[in-house]
Subunit: 255 residues, 2 copies
DNA sequence: CCATCTTTGTGCACGCGTTCACAAAGACAT
DNA sequence: ATGTCTTTGTGAACGCGTGCACAAAGATGG
C-alpha cells in the first residue's frame, strides 16, 4: 500500500454527512440538465444557483467526495455526474416493489421519473383480489400472497408502501422479513423497524401543516394582538374549568 | 398562575424552532389517535414512543408552546390537541388549489387525509382543455385561464403544484402573482420565489436516491475492498486521460 | 400536614451543519 | 517562464438541534 493511496479511501468511505447525501440528488439533477445542454464545465457558483443552495456548501459537499474540480475553471459536468451517480449507488439497477396500488400507488407506478435513474419497478402488489392480474402502467398487479416470493425472486431491497395507514406496519414487517432493508413510506404512520433497516417517509399532510404554520404567522403578525386577547381569555377559562364534562374543549374552530 | 401572564405570550410568540414545528404534526397525529381511544392523559414517554421520537425532545418541543403538562401525571390529551392545532393554524380553514390534475394530482384530489385537518380543496386546475369541466374526486376541473380568478375569489394562500417539471416555475409565478404565499411542489424542479413565499417540496426521486445510497453502503461494506481497487484504477485512468476526446467518461450506465 | 413517588421543564454540554473568508492551485495570456 | 486572474478546497467560528441528567412541581397516600 503506497503512501497517498490510503488517504483517498479514508476520505471517501468514511462518513459522508447525511445532509450532504440528501443534497447530492439535487446536484445530480442540475448536472444532468447541464449535460443535456452539452455544457462542458460549471463553476460552483453556477451549479449552486441551479440547485438552489449556497456555493460554499456545495463546494464543501463535493470535498467529501474528493477533489474533482479544477481551480480557476470549475467542475467537469460529465465527470461529476458519474462520480455522484456512483456515490449514490445509481450505477447499478435497483428493483423496487410498490405495495398498495390505490390512487397513490397507481400514480407512482405510472411515474416516469421512477425508472429514469436506476430504479426499476419490479412488481406491484395489492391485497385486493379484484386487482390481481389487472395491469397498471403496463405491469400486472400481484396479490399480497406472492409478496415474499416476489422479493426473493427479484432480489428486491427497496420497498414502497402506499397502503392505508392501518395496514402499513404489517406490510412493513412482511417486507422486512422477506429481506427488504429500505422502505419509502407514504402512509401517515410511524413505522417501527429493526436496526439496519432504513425508513424514509413522505407525508403530504405534515408538509401542509408546516406551511399552514408559517402562513398563519405571516397573516397574523398584526392581528395577533386582538386575537390573542380572545384566545387568552378562552384558554384561561378552559384552564380554570379544567377538563370539563362536555365539549368545553374548543377543538377545531368552526367556520 | 396569576403572575405569569406576560411570560406566556413572550414565550410562545417568539420563534418556535423550525425543527419543532416540523414535529408538531407528528405529535398531533399521535394525540388524535389517543383522543379517539378516549385516553384522557399521556406521559411524555408514551407520546414520544407513539410519535417515534425521544421523550426529552418532545418535552423540550412542548416547552416552546408553554407549560401545558402536569408533573407527576402527564399531558391532557384533548387540551394538547387543541393547543397544537391552534399553534399550527389548523383551527382555521385553509382553501387549497391543486394545479396539474394528472396521475399525481388526481391522487391528491382523492386523498381523504387532505380535508381531515382544516385543508379544503377549493379548486382543481389543469392546462388541458379536454379536462375542463370533468369531475375529479367530485370536483370539476377548471382551466388554467381561471387560475387568478379562482385564487382571488376563494382567498387561497396555499397552492399545490403537480404539473410536469417544465411547467412548474411558470405555474409557480402565476400562483405567487395571484396572491399565493405557500407552495407545496411535487415537480422535480427548484422553484425560485420572492421573499415571503414559502416553498416545500416532495420529491420521490430524491428519497429513493438517498435510500439507494444507504443500501449500497450496507451491501458493499465487505465487497468494497475489491470493488474499490477496480474503481480506483478506473478513476486513475480517467484522471490521467483528463477529459478525453470521445466518450471516455462513463456517464450514466445505459439500460 | 407530611412523605413519597412520578413526571415535567430546562440548564448544560456536545456534535452536526452552515457560512465566511482566504490561501493555494492552476489556467491562460504575454 | 512569469504574472495575473479565476475558482477551488478548507480552516475556523458560529448557531442550531439533540440528549443527558436533575431539580422542582405536584399528585397521591397515609
Ligand atoms: N392519495 C394521496 O395523494 C396520498 C397522499 C399522501 C398520503 N397518502 C397515503 O397513501 C396511502 C394510500 O393512499 P391512496 O389514496 O392510494 O389509498 P387507496 O385506498 O386508494 O389505496 C390503498 C390500496 O392499498 C391496498 N391495500 C390495503 N391493505 C393492503 C395490504 N395489507 N397489503 C397490500 N395492499 C393493501 C388497497 O387494496 C388499495 O388498493 C394512504 O395511507 C394515504 O394516507 C395518499
Ligand atoms: N406520479 C407520481 O407518482 C409522481 C411522483 C413524484 C413526482 N411526480 C411529479 O409530479 C408531476 C406530475 O406527475 P404526474 O405523474 O401526475 O404527471 P401527468 O403528466 O400525469 O400530469 C401532469 C398534468 O399537468 C397538466 N399540466 C401541464 N402543464 C400545465 C400547466 N402549465 N398548468 C396546469 N396544468 C398543466 C397536464 O395537463 C397533466 O394533466 C411531475 O412533475 C412529476 O415529475 C409525480
Amino acid at each position: 500500500m503506497a503512501t497517498g493511496r490510503t488517504h483517498r479511501t479514508a476520505t471517501r468511505s468514511r462518513g459522508i454527512p447525511e445532509a450532504t447525501v440528501a443534497r447530492l440528488p439535487l446536484y445530480l439533477r442540475a448536472l444532468t440538465a447541464l449535460s443535456e445542454r452539452s455544457v462542458p464545465t460549471v463553476s460552483s457558483e453556477e451549479l449552486a444557483a441551479a440547485a438552489g443552495v449556497n456555493s460554499a456548501k456545495l463546494r464543501k459537499d463535493f470535498s467529501y467526495l474528493g477533489s474533482y474540480g479544477t481551480r480557476g475553471v470549475g467542475y467537469d459536468v460529465e465527470y461529476l455526474v458519474y462520480q455522484i451517480s456512483r456515490e449514490l449507488g445509481l450505477t447499478q439497477d435497483w428493483p423496487v416493489v410498490i405495495v398498495g396500488i390505490g390512487n397513490l400507488g397507481a400514480a407512482l407506478a405510472n411515474y416516469g421519473g421512477f425508472a429514469s435513474r436506476g430504479f426499476r419497478v419490479a412488481a406491484l402488489i395489492d391485497a385486493d383480489p379484484e386487482m390481481a392480474g389487472k395491469p397498471v402502467a403496463g405491469i400486472p398487479v400481484q396479490h399480497t400472497d406472492q409478496l415474499e416470493k416476489i422479493i426473493d425472486d427479484n432480489g428486491v431491497s427497496i420497498g414502497v408502501i402506499a397502503t392505508p395507514a392501518g395496514a402499513a406496519q404489517q406490510v412493513c414487517e412482511r417486507l422486512v422479513a422477506a429481506g427488504v432493508t429500505s422502505i419509502l413510506n407514504f402512509a401517515p404512520t410511524v413505522l417501527s423497524v429493526p436496526d439496519g433497516v432504513d425508513v424514509r417517509k413522505v407525508d403530504l399532510s405534515i408538509e401542509l401543516q408546516i406551511l399552514a404554520f408559517h402562513e398563519q404567522r405571516k397573516a397574523g403578525e398584526e392581528a395577533d394582538a386582538q386575537a390573542d386577547a380572545v384566545l387568552a381569555a378562552e384558554a384561561a377559562a378552559a384552564e380554570k374549568a379544567g377538563k370539563g364534562p362536555d365539549g368545553d374543549v374548543p377543538a377545531v374552530m368552526p367556520a
